[in-house]
């Protein structure tokens, strides 16, 4: 489904602080499965996840989605692809302060032009599904870490994307909350979604969730 061929990402190329975050990664991610990117901090997990999801463009190499090269797509098309194909769960939740939980969840659907009532209804249903139905009107800064991550998952699902990219989804949570979040992700897999999880949390790998592990170190995939 998603194929990376010799993909590399270099930050500040040609400068003193040039940094190769990802080097010559070739990888296939199969539809409907859970793939985990594992490695210590600075191994390139987040950058690789960003490359897969079209948040950033590769410096070298090719990315293919369903066989179609998306590495050089114009920004407009890449954005539309990102919106329709990928749901992101970020490490720091990346919710927008002072907006309600409901408003945050609805945000990715705003540019789609779907009827407001439909978006709102779906957002409320998703919040119910992740156990936040009663917190819909609360401002996000009032949420606990576990609630914020569940809100982020609901937001990732608002456009019903086939692929969920989760960056350290349990990083700021205790074991009990981490298990809750992983249960939700497992449910997404059962619904047939493709999951790519970047994590170095052992709990993620202990649970019967991950089907394939890709180990990374210094931006390279370990054999």
């Amino acid at each position: 489904m998603i194929e990376l061929v010799g993909v590399g990402k270099t930050f500040n190329p040609g400068r003193d602080n040039e940094f190769h975050a990802v080097r010559e990664v070739s990888l296939s991610i199969e539809a409907g499965r859970v793939t985990a990117l594992r490695g210590p901090s600075g191994s390139g997990k987040t950058t690789l996840l960003g490359l897969i999801g079209g948040l950033t463009r590769p410096s070298v190499g090719r990315l293919r989605l369903h066989g179609r090269d998306i590495s050089a797509l114009p920004e407009r098309f890449l954005t539309a692809l990102r919106r329709d194909t990928f749901g992101f769960v970020f490490q720091q939740f990346q919710l927008i302060r002072d907006l309600s939980v409901l408003d945050n969840v609805m945000l990715p659907a705003v540019p789609t032009g779907r009827p407001h009532a439909d978006i709102r209804a779906r957002a409320l249903r998703l919040l119910d599904e992740v156990g936040l139905g009663r917190r819909a009107a609360a401002r996000v800064q009032w949420l606990s870490g576990g609630e914020a991550q569940r809100a982020a998952i609901a937001r990732a699902l608002i456009n019903d994307p086939p692929v969920i990219l989760a960056d350290e989804p349990t990083a700021h949570l205790d074991s009990a909350l981490s298990r809750q979040i992983l249960e939700i992700l497992a449910e997404l897999r059962r619904c047939g979604r493709t999951l790519v999880i970047a994590s170095h949390d052992p709990l993620v790998f202990e649970m019967d969730l991950v089907e394939r592990v890709v180990d990374l170190r210094d931006g390279r995939v370990l054999a």
């Binding site: 950033t56 954005t79 539309a80 408003d103 705003v110």
Partner: protein
């Protein structure tokens, strides 16, 4: 089309939610903006109102006024000249007018004494402008005492006060009979201050003026159109002073808007990064920021314009009255007739809304084209 409308609705909803989030900052900006629009609109509305009043008054004025010149100065006109003008083809009627100025030491102002065309007061009686009556504390039945050209006191009984609706031109006016006028100024019979002409065909006014000048070269001919232009010029000049100051304020405000939009905080940049990561393209971010600017500036315009309208038409524009009406001892009290001029509203809106939106456009475009990954890593 429906998708586009729903998308814009979603963007507006998000924009409104965003504006509510930063209440203090946006409220401060809104207040500054409202104040600026209010000041600008007050000056423009007041100037427009004054010009409109002047035009309405000039509708009753003669098409041409002929004044005799001696050594380039206005001089009294003999009655025979009126007959020579009346002979000219195209002249419908000629009338000798009697008017003059008198310095009233009691109020320290120049009064205009005039003999009206119709319904002149009886001998020893006058009609007074409302402003002068107010300043002198006179009411009908009281006596107005003035010293004539020879320094002798003349006592006139105030018969009536002039309609306060005409206060713009009647503030300093004293209407009196012809005999009293001639006696007061020492003007012999057969001499007039100037001549008022009515022409047969208003389209031929210019031609008639040329004929008058040809027949009586020692005259000055003033058309109603020239008087209207003079009024316009006076009010334009007066209006220009505050407008110049306000345009500097407007430029400063545009700079403030630019600064606000370009000096995006780390938090705002991060939020734009999040939106882009979630599937908003640069156009969506730009549209949201433009909606933000448009909503803020339109709200400020509506509030500022409405306040200015009330300030000018109901409160008498106390902030700008001295500048726009002119400095005067005899200060007229009059209310401008309320009017809603759509073209003026549109031009004011463009003048105030466009600079704000334009000033925010480039910085917002820069922010909207940020790479989401890069911003979220900051």
């Amino acid at each position: 089309m429906n998708t586009w409308i729903e998308r814009q609705r979603g963007l507006i909803d998000t924009t409104v939610a965003n504006l509510r989030r930063r209440k203090a900052r946006n409220l401060g900006l809104l207040l500054a903006y409202v104040l600026l629009v209010f000041l600008l609109a007050s000056v423009v509305l007041f100037g427009d109102g004054m010009r409109r009043e002047a035009r309405l008054l000039l509708e009753e004025a003669p098409e041409l006024v002929v004044q005799r010149l001696t050594a380039g100065r206005h001089d009294l006109m003999p009655a025979q000249w009126l007959e020579r003008i009346a002979d000219l083809r195209g002249v419908a009627a000629v009338e000798g007018r009697l008017w003059g100025y008198h310095h009233d030491a009691a109020v320290g102002a120049n009064l205009t004494l005039q003999v009206p065309r119709e319904a002149a007061p009886a001998a020893g009686r006058v009609h007074l402008g409302a402003t002068l009556a107010r300043l002198r504390g006179l009411a009908p039945g009281d006596v107005l005492s003035l010293r004539d050209h020879a320094g002798q006191p003349h006592a006139f009984v105030v018969e009536a006060l002039l309609d306060s609706r005409s206060e713009l031109v009647s503030a300093d006016l004293v209407l009196l009979g012809e005999a009293d006028f001639r006696a007061f100024f020492g003007i012999a019979a057969g001499l007039y201050t100037d001549a008022a002409l009515r022409v047969v065909n208003p389209l031929e006014t210019r031609t008639v003026a040329e004929k008058v000048l040809a027949r009586l070269p020692a005259t000055r001919v003033i058309s109603r159109e020239e008087m209207r232009r003079t009024y316009d010029a006076v009010f334009n000049w007066r209006q220009g002073l505050p407008l110049m100051v306000l345009s500097v304020l407007l430029a400063a405000f545009a700079l403030l808007a630019w600064d606000k939009a370009s000096g995006l905080s780390a938090e705002e940049r991060r939020e734009i990064g999040i939106l882009k990561a979630l599937g908003w393209d640069s156009g969506d971010v730009l549209a949201m920021k433009l909606w933000e600017g448009a909503l803020l500036s339109l709200l400020a315009f509506l509030l500022g314009y409405t306040l200015a309208w009330l300030h000018v038409y109901y409160a008498g524009a106390p902030l700008f009255e001295p500048v726009l009406k002119g400095w005067s001892v005899l200060y007229p009290h009059f209310a401008l007739a309320p009017e809603v001029d759509i073209s003026r509203i549109v031009s004011l809106a463009l003048l105030t809304v466009l600079p704000y939106v334009a000033a925010t456009l480039v910085p917002v475009w820069r922010a909207a084209t940020l790479d989401p990954d890069e911003v979220m890593r900051e």
